[in-house]
Symmetry: C2
Subunit: 217 residues, 2 copies
């Protein structure tokens, strides 16, 4: 796949040494982080809805109820912006000015369309669950027609994208390194905790091994 | 402060048993989470920018470079939507349909204005750092006029707001509780890690005690 070409809409203006437009970085961040903020316009006004996002090829997907206003809006082929972001740490410098944060962020532009057809929709939902809880789909009560009807999946071909990543320590003014001030990074991570069984689980049902493979952040 | 009155723009349409419009919940989520997605419109198209946000009274704040396109856009008094979100867990049900996520989310609407004046700007930046790393501001190389000029702080009076919170286990179809399927919650938490000192710290500078008070998520 070709890399993304920045346009006035997607070019990173500030601190562009942190910018990446290669398709590998853009896809990797979507795949690592898994949460996204969907931006869209209703009657000229901005709206932002958080959701889980996943990727297949050059498309990003999200889902929800068929009654969702967000999904009904974006399925209309209107312009959509999806930002996928993870805060990785506070970068404490010796001045406020050079204090910063470490993060991974990717912003995607395109227009979304509903995934149509029962088979395609079911395949998308399987891919969705496989991304977050690999191996679970086949263990579930199979999805039925009514449930598929109640669920909307949208896909957006990524037309434009820019990633922005900051890592590492601060870059203080040279004279500030002589100050008696502690500088450093306070890491911020997303941690998957120990699964909490539903009190209504049947006796003897153990937590499945695939829960070790849950990936977010 | 009075609670928020939902309008067509801010009313939670889907799963409105999860909705909250009371000022206490709205403020609490902003104060707990600390990261936000700022949505705004440029030439009719949506843009979403992630940033750290903090609150004072009925206003939410964020900051950045005076050269930031996002800040230059939103300071113009245009409509802005800020979503503050934290994923708290995957809720694994016995069917895909009832699988869900636990989360805290609050969506804020208003229009932003720059904080003007050196004193007011400096006070805002102090409040910002106090929110994330309480106690650090007074230990830093004091901010100077040039740094203040290079920094923009915007505040947005929260005109409309809605919070949406999901907690607890799944609500499966009654007959599915008889299935031999493990159900439960996979918790997702934000963890503040052990501070990593800058290799250029002066010898003998210990990590300050206030680093234990860093709060995000």
């Amino acid at each position: 796949m070709p890399d993304f070409t920045p346009t006035p809409r997607s070019r990173v203006k500030r601190l562009n040494q942190r910018a990446h437009y290669d398709v590998e970085t853009v896809h990797r961040l979507i795949d690592e982080i898994g949460t996204g903020s969907v931006g869209y316009v209703i009657e000229g006004e901005p709206h932002v809805t958080p959701t889980l996002v996943w990727r297949e090829g050059d498309k990003v997907y999200w889902h929800g109820s068929s009654a969702s206003r967000m999904l009904k809006t974006v399925r209309g082929g209107v312009p959509v912006c999806v930002n996928v972001f993870h805060l990785d740490g506070l970068v404490l410098a010796r001045s406020g000015m050079h204090s910063s944060v470490n993060y991974r962020s990717v912003t995607l532009f395109g227009s979304a369309a509903p995934v149509e057809g029962e088979q395609a929709k079911e395949a998308s939902l399987r891919a969705f669950l496989d991304r977050f809880v690999p191996g679970r789909w086949d263990n579930l009560h199979p999805i039925n027609k009514q449930e598929l009807k109640a669920t909307m999946v949208v896909s957006m071909t990524i037309e434009e994208a820019s990633a922005k990543i900051r890592t590492g320590h601060c870059a203080d003014d040279e004279e500030d390194y002589a100050l008696d001030i502690w500088a450093g990074i306070v890491p911020v991570t997303t941690v998957i905790g120990t699964p909490e069984p539903d009190p209504r689980n049947k006796a003897g049902i153990a937590a499945p091994a695939y829960l070790d493979n849950v990936r977010i952040g």
